[in-house]
Amino acid sequence: MTIRFDDAWAKALEVAKQAAVSTHLDVVLVRDILGRVSVVLDDPAGDPPTGSLVEDLGVKLAAEAGPFIMSAPVTLASTLFAPDQVLHARDLVTVQDPAGDSGRVSTLERGVVGAEWLHPRPESGNERSNRVVLYGFKGGVGRSTATFMLAQHLAGQGHCVLAVDLDLESPGLGALLQGDDDLPDYGLVDHLAESAVGNEDGLDLVTKSKTVQVSGNGEVWVAPAGGRPRKGYDYLAKLNRAYFDLPGGDAEERPAGLASRLEAAVHDCEQQVARRSRQPDVVLLDSRAGIHDIAAIAITQLGDLSLLFGSDSVPTWNGYRALFQQWSQIPERARAIRERLRMVAAMVPRDRREGYLEVFRDHAQGCFAATLYDDVPSGSDLEADAELFNPAPDDDAAPHAPLPILFIPELVGLDPAARRNWHEIDPSAYSTFVDTATDLILGERS
């Protein structure tokens, strides 16, 4: 029978687990960019396992993984030039802790999009603005419009808001918040390109929105994906280079990975607003859709809160389930991130909103419960139960409880440049969303 991608991985994992028992060593199962597997054994210095043991393991692995086997199926860590890059790699996922005689089993995915989903959020000592990510697994659900509405609402309450367009592939937030002529000279993509050669200082990245009119002390600033369109400004050339991880940190400890470069870009945008007006109270990050690394970084590492947009459809839930499963591989990660998430039901049909939201809520609950909520076994007493996190389906404070946004047909195919007053729409469509989101963002302060 032909061995397929998924089977190869599952079977190889079994072999790795057996190896941890038989060799008593820590085992790392590595999968390369083509999906091929190999095993690294963490052998103690000066006491390598026997050659026949290594050979047997290699034969077993090759039999199970079929075409998905690397040319050297088993490697001893003691023979590696830089064993830490495997044994203590950032993306290492522990699948089984050492128990008794048996070693630890970990997995390591090499060179694939998606690894960023597993990275923890860096601890930051300094007080930062409240950063909120707006994300949709599937695009086209009105996420940018919602970002606009939320920015406008927060500013109306006197807050200073910075809205950042992280949707570099299909930017749009800039145009919603600002006419072309009033955009800053540069955008996020410039910061990513220039920082690669240490040249990002002095980029003009933010402007105060003229589209949002605020009375009172509130302000809305926008950091677009690209700068003001003009002759000689090449967006694509920079975008093509934006995502790559740069070669390791140089002598000046310049951040290299995409995550730290994005963090630096957002940080610089915040600083620019602080310099030209005041420290933003809230930073809205309009993230691109899909499994892309930018979204991963935004949700796992940049955001204090992530609003997850979706309509009630099978692809939406399959997508979120796949995404959440990434986190549930590492229980601590799941515990750390789940309370920073909140569902948004986008494009809710007005005439049957209640029924729609009930079903949406149940689907969201099922998705969260299966992947991110604590399993609450029967027989747990009341005290233990209260410590576990698994909110009831009807719990309105739960991550799965949707903030509704009603569908507005006029916004389909909107050209903000042609209809500058486009945002003067029925406020009731967004009222629950903006009110609850504000509560979640500023809860402790408001």
Binding site: L305, F324, S328, P331, A334, R335, E339, R340, R342, G355, E358, V359, R361, D362, H363, Q365, G366, A369, A370, T371, L372, Y373, D374, D375, V376, P377, S378, G379, S380, L382, D385, A386, L388, N390, A392, P393, D394, D395, D396, A397, L440, G443, E444
Partner: protein, 484 residues
């Protein structure tokens, strides 16, 4: 606003204001603490015959209050229900043993065994209460009923006379029935007795102008007798429900605080708006504190803080508390609500005395747990079969498919247990049993009706936390529990 209470002062006030026992059987309502939520107005209308209410929502409170002239007048004022003032009440049945007014369970049981028609029993009770001469002499209830049967003409005449006399005095004579779960130990016999009461009530409505009955009854008991006498639907269409909205619940709490016998009560009142002094020592809530959720939330935030945790995303205290006491049909009983607050207060005093607010969120959680334990004990008492039916489901996790539940029951042969075939079954479980022990889908429907389980929009079944923990079901999750 004037100076508000400190956390300690609030704790002291709550302790005095909330009764340790919240059972209307043992605590009589009194003018100071009687709370009149707007949603209960209809239930007091003399023309409303059937008043449905689950356990702990105030059936007995109103049954007692209506019989007390002072409290009735007070309710008439609060509700602008002038007609209540000209009502004369009679006791048809209640928790209290009053063999002079109505037969007790033992006597009822014997009469049913002797083949006495339930309708005749209640007609006898009514005529005796109305002072019909002939029925006063016999000493025992069976004899009185026999007199009634022997004098059919006098029965009609007595009713007509009483009706006419009440009309002359511009009064309505209202016979009240409560505690119908204590009529008889057998569900079947109880149903027969209830049907008799309802037939009498309908008879009064159709045949007299000034004689009325009011029947306080649990919804599941009202639904179970087969009301197959003529015009029975008239009773259903005119029934009222004793329900408690979230603002009602907080209104009740604040009413108790403002009317407590504590030096802090007046401080609380002056800090929360303009309370009306209706009668001596009775103060009515300001309108907005009664019905405006934002105002209520602000006051409660001053007592319990704004959030259910250090993490502000865990929800508002104001909504969290009633939501977590809610059953499957969205009802929270005031008894559970007050009990949770009492327990939260005690717990905070013990464990978080230095907390900046009177009630700590962890104390509130503890309070909810205490209240739900009590709630489950009440269900076990009212509907023993529910416990029998839930037992095979222990160990399962929600949300759950209907099929899984039915499988559990089939494996356990629940039908036999419910019919009394199992050894562990005690008599009362069988007798109060579900409408149909053999039809598992029907049992699920019945459990949904009484709020033990609920059906989600996706068709799956769920248990509200109030019941889930006590019946030993878990909730499905993907993150394994930390091993310690």
């Amino acid at each position: 606003m004037t100076a508000s209470l400190s956390a300690d002062e609030y704790r002291e006030l709550i302790q005095v204001a909330l009764p340790t026992s919240t059972d209307a059987d043992t605590v009589d309502p009194e003018p100071r603490t009687l709370f009149t939520p707007d949603s209960h107005r209809l239930a007091l209308d003399p023309d409303v015959t059937v008043v449905r209410g689950a356990r702990g929502v105030g059936k007995t409170v109103w049954f007692k209050a209506l019989q007390d002239g002072k409290l009735r007048a007070l309710a008439a004022n609060d509700y602008q229900l002038a007609r209540l003032k000209s009502v004369e009440t009679l006791a048809g049945y209640g928790t209290e043993l009053r063999p002079d007014s109505y037969p007790g369970p033992a006597s009822l049981g014997r009469m049913l065994e002797d083949g006495t028609a339930p309708y005749d029993i209640w007609m006898t009770v009514l005529l005796r209460a109305l002072g019909t001469p002939g029925i006063q002499q016999p000493l025992s209830w069976p004899e009185r009923v026999r007199w009634l049967r022997d004098h059919p003409d006098e029965q009609d005449e007595a009713l007509a006379t009483a009706d006419q006399r009440a009309g002359e005095g511009k009064a309505t004579r209202l016979i009240l029935f409560d505690a119908l779960d204590r009529l008889h130990t057998s569900r079947e016999q109880t149903n027969r007795l209830i049907e008799g009461i309802l037939r009498l009530a309908l008879e009064l409505r159709t045949r007299t102008r000034n004689l009325r009955a009011k029947v306080f009854i649990r919804p599941d008991m009202f639904d179970s007798p087969r009301l197959h006498f003529a015009d029975a639907s008239k009773l259903t269409s005119n029934a009222a429900d004793l329900t408690w909205s979230v603002p009602n619940l907080y209104g009740l709490f604040f009413h108790q605080l403002g009317n407590a016998e504590s030096r802090h009560a007046s401080t609380f009142r002056s800090a929360t708006g303009i309370w009306q002094s209706a009668e001596a020592n009775r103060y009515l809530l300001p309108r907005n504190l009664m019905g405006d959720q934002d105002v209520q939330r602000e006051v409660f935030t001053g007592i319990a803080g704004q959030w259910m945790g250090a993490n502000h995303r865990r929800g508002h205290t104001y909504t969290w508390l009633p939501n977590h006491l809610m059953d499957g049909i969205g009802q929270t009983s005031p008894r559970s609500f007050l009990r949770a607050l009492t327990s939260a207060n005690e717990d905070t005093r013990g464990r978080f005395a230095g907390y900046q607010y009177a009630l700590h969120w962890d104390g509130i959680k503890r309070g909810v747990q205490t209240a739900s334990r009590t709630r489950v004990a009440e269900v076990a008492e009212d509907l023993p079969w529910v416990q029998t039916a839930m037992k095979p489901l222990a160990g399962q996790q929600v949300p759950i498919d209907q099929e899984t539940i039915v499988n559990c029951w089939q494996e356990d042969d629940l039908a036999t247990t419910l019919r009394g075939g199992g050894k562990e079954t005690d008599e009362s479980q069988v007798r109060t049993g579900p409408r149909n022990s053999d039809d598992y889908d029907e049992i699920i429907r019945e459990l949904i009706e009484i709020g033990i389980i609920s059906r989600r929009a996706t068709g799956k079944l769920d248990l509200p936390d109030v019941y889930r923990i006590a019946f030993d079901l878990g909730r499905k999750g993907g993150v394994p529990r930390i091993q310690r």
